[in-house]
Symmetry: D2
Subunit: 344 residues, 4 copies
Amino acid sequence: MRFASDNTSGVCPEVLAAIAEESARYGPAYGDDRRSAELVEKLSEVFERPVDVYPVATGTAANSLSLAALNPPWGGVICHQEAHVAVDELAAPSAIGGGLTLLPLAGDHGKLTPEVVDEAFVRRENGVHTVPITGLSITQETETGTCYRVDELAALAEVATRRGLRIHMDGARFANAVVATGASPADLTWRRGVDLLSFGATKGGALAAEAIVSFDHSLDEVIQRHRKRFGHLLSKQRLAAAQILGWVSDGVWLRHATHANRLAARLGAGLDASGMALSGPVEANMAFVRMTDDQARALREAGASFYTQVLDPGLAEARFVTSWSSSEAEVDELIRAAGQIIAA
Amino acid sequence: MRFASDNTSGVCPEVLAAIAEESARYGPAYGDDRRSAELVEKLSEVFERPVDVYPVATGTAANSLSLAALNPPWGGVICHQEAHVAVDELAAPSAIGGGLTLLPLAGDHGKLTPEVVDEAFVRRENGVHTVPITGLSITQETETGTCYRVDELAALAEVATRRGLRIHMDGARFANAVVATGASPADLTWRRGVDLLSFGATKGGALAAEAIVSFDHSLDEVIQRHRKRFGHLLSKQRLAAAQILGWVSDGVWLRHATHANRLAARLGAGLDASGMALSGPVEANMAFVRMTDDQARALREAGASFYTQVLDPGLAEARFVTSWSSSEAEVDELIRAAGQIIAA
Amino acid sequence: MRFASDNTSGVCPEVLAAIAEESARYGPAYGDDRRSAELVEKLSEVFERPVDVYPVATGTAANSLSLAALNPPWGGVICHQEAHVAVDELAAPSAIGGGLTLLPLAGDHGKLTPEVVDEAFVRRENGVHTVPITGLSITQETETGTCYRVDELAALAEVATRRGLRIHMDGARFANAVVATGASPADLTWRRGVDLLSFGATKGGALAAEAIVSFDHSLDEVIQRHRKRFGHLLSKQRLAAAQILGWVSDGVWLRHATHANRLAARLGAGLDASGMALSGPVEANMAFVRMTDDQARALREAGASFYTQVLDPGLAEARFVTSWSSSEAEVDELIRAAGQIIAA
Amino acid sequence: MRFASDNTSGVCPEVLAAIAEESARYGPAYGDDRRSAELVEKLSEVFERPVDVYPVATGTAANSLSLAALNPPWGGVICHQEAHVAVDELAAPSAIGGGLTLLPLAGDHGKLTPEVVDEAFVRRENGVHTVPITGLSITQETETGTCYRVDELAALAEVATRRGLRIHMDGARFANAVVATGASPADLTWRRGVDLLSFGATKGGALAAEAIVSFDHSLDEVIQRHRKRFGHLLSKQRLAAAQILGWVSDGVWLRHATHANRLAARLGAGLDASGMALSGPVEANMAFVRMTDDQARALREAGASFYTQVLDPGLAEARFVTSWSSSEAEVDELIRAAGQIIAA
């Protein structure tokens, strides 16, 4: 019953096969290879337009390099106050962005709204002394398991355009959001003003493969240069490209995401039914559930792993994350264990 | 006949197996896992003392994070003028080191000598205006295919101690140097004053796995913090650890390096005998050979890939690199082709 | 009626005389001169212990260099959300601090409290992913014109010690706080745990002279190196030292501060009596007064300059700052004008 | 006999008067003042075209901010190996330029030539791994006391244009070069491709006043932002502007430079005649003279201050710098002392 995070899963069989297959070949280093070229083609097809693709090994790299490419070092980037970039990356956007400032804002269900973004401009001094707001970073699927709908993204794009903000999307769980919203990758990104996407494959089944997908070719040099000078250009990039190709081809990524989302829904509904209430809707591959500290302890003793956050003394919010490698059996085992704890 | 670089090889079977095996398991993210702990144990055994190990995905990351940990941002690091850190990393040590300065020096056969290091201090102003020399970065195996002997390292350690310099070793091809020198990993590193080693597995057969091996535990926080904030902490670190474990266990790394070194020697001797003269001794897995531009062109037309550097108009120095995946057959094919070109 | 800021004043006669006197001499550059040495002696006397002194030309430099010296680049510094470092310095602490994060917190009257500082640690994740809180920056006199009492500083020092935080004090208006609190410079700084003080003379009557006053000699190299490498070491430092010496000697600084504080009190009381209510107590050289937008406009038309901040539609908070060069006459003229506006 | 450096001089009477005059006024802070506007007008007149002017307090700031504005953080800047930016600024261009690399080159008499610049491109790898050469920094008057002629600058501009390099000029002693070459400020700068000039007044007689003079208005935001975020925007900027205005107005700067250049020529000729040979031509306000260590010691004992550099064991090159405050009397006293030492 491993629900701590989707990054506790291993490499999915399709990616393993792609690695093995590519390993049998030689290939030029640093991205001048066939797989890297094929990846550009493949993602251009997925996103229904020509894109540039920059593989890297971590999500923090994809996010920070994107923010550094879109914003001047004196700029400020609005993000949700629970966003990974703001909370879990040890100020990497500032380290890589040359002193870039994050401007975390509140918002229900882990989402930013146009109103919240607009309000950040109110009473803000102008002039050279104040960090100008230059960018917006949106997380899709959000940290609280929700997904921005296409119309919500359109509304954010509108305010971004009006305010002159560049848009980055942290898509560490983008596959889950595509499945959850039913919208096309294009409709969730560049058609709604997204300039750069951190396209995450690691949580979805890759070994260590993320990619900056760029919808603005004029950013090519700055991304390439920053990627290299912060140590993120992989020598055997063809093996990172192979991972993503193996994962995206034949709809593998969406199949895995569908599986994970389905199990999260089952898990959430099951716990809710057992008497541990859901904190919010389960839209993708995360379920947030309220339980007492005693219940959390008992669940862990029963063999479940998951994170909790203190809500009130004695009361916690537990996060359950499913992945390509989660099984219906372990979800049902968790639900059973929860039922017994409630009943006891 | 792929001799452009050892990083054009794929993943060796032993590492592939280790990835597949580890993929069947769940495991905590970000290094709190069993494989990461085993890697520390294993490398402590290899280096005959307790070490800290920080896996990363690229050699540039390992090098730059090491230099940033050992030197203040205002410091200067002596390195050979052909060193990878100086030539091929787009000033990453400065980007990650907060403005760190590299001080590249000349030296025969890609090696620094105590005399050269000492001379860098002569006529150097003191005081707050001048970049103080604070570190030394040694490449083992060097960029020109030579290896520092233990006594050469001891002499460098002596001047470093006398001058108060911290020592980093870029060991992207450390395995080849261990085999070439016949010295133990310990004798090539901490017993000769090395503080941090970039321990390279990628060129030797891994997918994307390098590690900073630290012989100074007091550097733990700064390395961990820099690694995270520059985006180099892998979420599925256990799969990077598994790669290195699969590569180091049962002597795989030294077996592959022995193979590569042997083929480079064969290749060098063969070309030399055919009439294309070696530029210097073949000590590890690289052979440098002088040939005319016409000969280089003919060799490439025959199907060989390798890099050349202009020496004089019409004359080039060609670099041939062997790896775990090179075969005797392709070496012999190259020698044959060279013989025919010379004969023609 | 110039009350926009104390930095709109010129150079006070005592500092002018000191500049002229020092200009008649030659002297070594970059701080190896007699005036710089005398300044160390003088401030050691003022602070009743040996101190190190690092003159710079701007308050932003003094603040940012101090924060960079006290905190690692991955650290976080708690400050008040209205603090100059957080609001008016374009993220200079991050630019100079290598990516340092500011953690602005709310607090009445521009002051931080131990409770607010302690609460910042609650629910804060540990581990390598989260910015660790490493420092505290206190502004004395605060941005809202109040001054920390000695017992308030002691309480902050207690929590800082308990939490392992280094303390910086932004003393751009330190002289005004010394006069306002009646406490000694020592009691307001190192005896209450302050490690580094930005000692401001510019607002108090100098041309461009601030100094980092250090109570921790072990920080000497890092401050000197950062000062130089960010371009803040003055070649004619003896003329900056002379400015501060001319200002501190014979109690000039406290006399000017007493004058400014007295006029601010007079101004505040006068406006309050005229019907424009004070927002808070006038403790040093700033008075904050509530007035309608119409009243503010009328006051400006009458010749007064000052800043306003919107409180509610139609309602503003006006800030009046006095300096060494303010005169009783212009204060009284302002009060008269306010009376007429109210009466109209 | 103070000839160590022109920055050991005090503030010249004209600048002192300007400071005193401006101190009698109030004025907006941070550059929104009349003097700052007048300075733009005045320097636009001096340079015969509209310019932007950014006062700062140090030459290191002017140089580093200029290089950061003209070059990306991954760029490389060619400069002479004896240039102040390369030797005396503790890697400030890299600290402020986000990791910028300096590429110091040799050249006779402290000067770069088109040949030397062109040769830096030969055998330089392209691609993302190598620091691209993006800028050129020229020092005028050079560190060895020579001055680029207009045709030499034109030749450098030609290669810069051909190679796509932006040009910065370090003009810490620009006034001396204007006088020495007899060329107009315009002919020495923008008419020869210079984009940004560090216009130095401090060595020439100001207290602490340098200015970035920009011939490219599109750089306005980046210069302003970098200046602020590295702590170089002066609150009482009007007093820095007043210094430069006082110095430039009525030809004061050129009069002082003429005086200094004349004395250096006299000093050089005098020592040469006395038997201490000049190392090179005396073109502006520095004379370099060869003498034995014993002679240098004797000159110092006679009361002269100056810097020496070791040439050979027992032989030194002494640098004598004159300034606005040097007197014919002290020059003649030095020559006399030299004569006696030679005769002894």
